[in-house]
């Protein structure tokens, strides 16, 4: 088992579909990217279970309930699992600022502005952690679109 439970993931089936149609190194690199954002060697301020909660939250914001459930099921800590639900509030002010930022970047990307980054800094989030949040969020956007896009090709690719 990998740290993110790749073997049981809906992501795995989608990547097998990519492998059948295109360059196989894309599959391996996409799998590694998931690990880099959900279970990195250096997690900064955001441990793996918190990241899995964000992954589930963003999958749900994108309307991908299976993917959201896949990530949510890996979270042992109830307080963190609660954060996986869109709209669930942060436990402290800093976390609330981070959640508002994550929701906006995931679902209202075009309206993100300099003030949003200033808001994170004011809440005490370090520059390196801001980049980590963006990579996690941005990867989830990629993953959701690869999964949803490939789902409509099922059965047609023989």
């Amino acid at each position: 088992m990998t740290a993110t439970g790749f073997e049981a993931s809906p992501w795995r089936g989608a990547l097998a579909e990519v492998a059948a149609q295109t360059r196989s190194d894309i599959v391996e690199m996409s799998r590694k990217a998931e690990e880099a954002v959900t279970a990195p060697r250096d997690p900064g301020a955001f441990p793996t279970e918190w990241r899995l909660a964000m992954a589930a939250r963003i999958a749900a914001l994108n309307g991908l309930d299976n993917l959201a459930e896949h990530y949510r099921a890996k979270i042992a800590e109830p307080a963190l699992r609660a954060l996986a639900v869109p709209g669930a509030p942060g436990r402290v002010a800093r976390e609330q600022a981070v959640l508002a930022f994550m929701d906006k970047v995931a679902a209202e990307t075009r309206t993100v502005a300099a003030e949003d980054i200033e808001g994170l800094k004011a809440a005490g989030v370090a520059d390196a952690d801001i980049v980590r949040l963006c990579e996690l969020n941005a990867f989830m956007s990629y993953q959701a679109r690869v999964l949803a896009g490939l789902a409509i090709l099922k059965g047609a690719s023989a």
Binding site: G63, T109, A128, V146
Partner: protein
């Protein structure tokens, strides 16, 4: 003085980071390793130095980006750029749209498509194949759960093979990623005078 660019353009602006880039002189071995595999290692851009704050992701994202956008096979490079532009228009990433519109114009030897895209945005009227590609990219970028088998059928009717459709999905999805870095972590700026 520099001012923030708010309108789509093919003239690539500067990119001004909103967080402090990694100082190359202070970079860790892992950061140096991640920076090495980016396309231009002679002069490292502020953008890549910002991403070096998360070297593990940068190290995998750079080759993945190149594989999806530039490896041979599947959809043409110009059409992959069209997928990238669709995402960048939805997410209003001015910088990404500029880079990839300029590249599209160069590859397609034509500025008519990107002129129309920048004038009419998501409602652009294009030749049939380009229209199908762009519309799909916009829809997938806006809402992944909204795409259906009818959308795939429309791409096939426009002449796309299964491998080309997969490339379109990948390039569109990749810019869902890229836009959320470029548009969120910095401003596109133009220096006056």
């Amino acid at each position: 003085m520099s001012r923030v660019v708010h309108r789509f353009t093919r003239t690539v602006p500067e990119w001004r980071p909103r967080v402090t880039p990694v100082d190359l002189a202070q970079a860790t071995p892992e950061q140096r390793e991640a920076l090495k595999i980016t396309p231009s290692n002679t002069k490292v851009s502020d953008y890549v130095l910002v991403l070096a704050h998360d070297p593990e992701t940068l190290a995998i994202r750079s080759p993945l980006f190149n594989a999806i956008m530039y490896d041979p096979g599947g959809m043409s490079r110009a059409e992959r750029e069209l997928g990238a532009i669709g995402a960048s228009i939805v997410n209003r990433c001015i910088y990404c749209a500029a880079v990839h519109a300029a590249r599209h114009a160069q590859l397609a030897k034509d500025t008519a498509v990107t002129d129309e895209l920048f004038i009419r945005g998501e409602k652009a009227a294009l030749p049939p194949r380009e229209q199908a590609i762009f519309d799909f990219s916009v829809k997938l970028s806006q809402s992944p759960s909204a795409v259906t088998e009818a959308d795939a059928a429309r791409l096939r009717e426009a002449g796309l093979s299964e491998a080309e459709i997969v490339d379109l999905i990948l390039s569109t999805a990749l810019f869902g990623w890229a836009n959320r870095l470029m548009h969120v972590l910095g401003d596109p700026v133009r220096n006056d005078g």
